[in-house]
Symmetry: C2
Subunit: 274 residues, 2 copies
């Protein structure tokens, strides 16, 4: 039986499965959409991964990830730009709907977040023409403010959309409920993104109370405090009807369970609480 | 030797000192401004605390804390309002510059953050006339978005100022760098707050990388990534010249050191990095 509208970000089953086994496990439960990470693709090889995708009619709802622009010197920024172009090539080879951009935090010992944000804008502008030529949309994923220092200095949907507007065609956003659910401007900014067709991806999981680790304690949908149905309704109202992509980093819970159980739980929760 | 412009929030030395000992330890190093918590005042008794404050010419830069409005039923909200009036009485008795409002998160098992925010607005409106009569300004402290679920559903300075504008005279904000440093709109919202004289307090500490605990791993000024001098310059530019109040929750580091050392370090860092 096919499960329409649900995608599994392969970080969700990272310890359990490599790329090929993850695809098999998803297909076995009727899921035909995934979002792989670069290291997972590299482990099997880009050509082999692309063949698996093609042969099985898999949709790649996003390729994780580009970004990480801020650097301590121009050489570092240039290297990041080159690496992003390779990520765009890979996304194109896989036929990904978009390349997810986790833009990067403060470089080195910097305390200058304005400068980091400027480097992000410069880096995106530098790779965007290449992305356009490859027909790979770039999806800025605003990360939760608790990652502003070390992972991404784009921290609200409004800020991400301001960047998209400044950069122009080929840019959009990935709206992950984990990063954005708290935002008092979430609803208005989802509507804003919809008006320009800038919503490229919708990621789901849940915010646990208590959250025991800043990075690796995301919850399964329904186990936390996020009103998933409401956010989904806003996103559909804004014109995005693509898959909901489950992305859960959970070192002490879901990463310790059998991958088949994790996928089955994603499906059950997708049908009941999303 | 007196240390002008520095206040010690007594949470910073919570395990080391009760109220009276904390005041003694601050005075011994020339600090004449503090911000106590309700439980610390209750432990010694309000009258005794007020006498110590009066006798030593102590400035109370803020009283911690009111708020926590959202409740699962009207009885709960009414109880919160009553409790906030008692906190206002205590703040008045101590001559506090303001009552810090940590507004509360989602009540019970609720996933409705809009409803929680509405209860916060209702609760503040209900206590504001009493606060005005007692001449105790109410300082909404927007908390970091990682506390939206369990501690405070007011999570940006912009959101707090929107609330202040809606509520009117007697309302303002406490700007804590820990909660706000990441915000792309921080500078513009500090300027906005300044135009209406709404800045009531300025709290400092630092954001550590990595941060090992969501609540109890705040850093000493200078040990993290926050550009403290820049934020202070913006706050002074906006017209607030009150004390910088050190508020550090640090279960594995500063709470384990001698209180005198913690206070001495606050002074040294205040003079060098703030």
């Amino acid at each position: 039986m096919s499960v329409q509208g649900l995608s599994i970000n392969l970080a969700t089953v990272r310890p359990q499965f490599g790329f090929a086994a993850a695809v098999d496990a998803c297909l076995a439960q009727g899921i035909t959409a995934i979002a792989p990470w670069r290291d997972q693709v590299e482990a099997i090889g880009l050509d082999a991964a692309a063949r698996i995708v093609e042969a099985n009619g898999i949709q790649i709802t996003g390729y994780c990830r580009g970004g990480m622009f801020p650097a301590t010197d121009p050489i570092g920024l240039a290297a990041a730009i080159d690496d992003n172009k390779r990520a765009i090539d890979e996304a194109a080879a896989l036929g990904a709907d978009c390349l997810i951009m986790v833009v990067g935090g403060l470089p080195g010992t910097s305390k200058d977040i304005d400068a980091a944000r400027a480097m992000v804008a410069d880096g995106l502008a530098a790779v965007l023409p290449y992305a356009r030529a490859c027909k790979v949309p770039l999806a800025i994923e605003p990360l939760h403010p608790m990652y502003a220092g070390d992972r991404a200095c784009v921290n609200t949907l409004e800020q991400a959309l301001d960047l998209c507007d400044a950069l122009g065609a080929g840019m959009g956003v990935a709206i992950d409920v984990y990063h954005t659910w708290w935002d008092p401007k979430l609803r208005s900014q989802i509507a804003r993104a919809g008006r320009k067709g800038q919503i490229l991806a919708h990621h789901i999981c849940d915010w646990l109370i208590p959250t025991r680790d800043l990075l690796l304690d995301r919850g399964m949908m329904g186990d936390g405090v996020i009103n998933l149905k409401l956010i989904r309704a806003d996103i559909e109202q804004a014109g995005f009807h693509g898959a909901q992509e489950v992305e859960i980093f959970s070192s002490e819970n879901w990463w310790k369970r059998p991958g088949e159980e994790v996928i089955a739980t994603c499906i059950e929760r997708y049908r009941t609480v999303c």
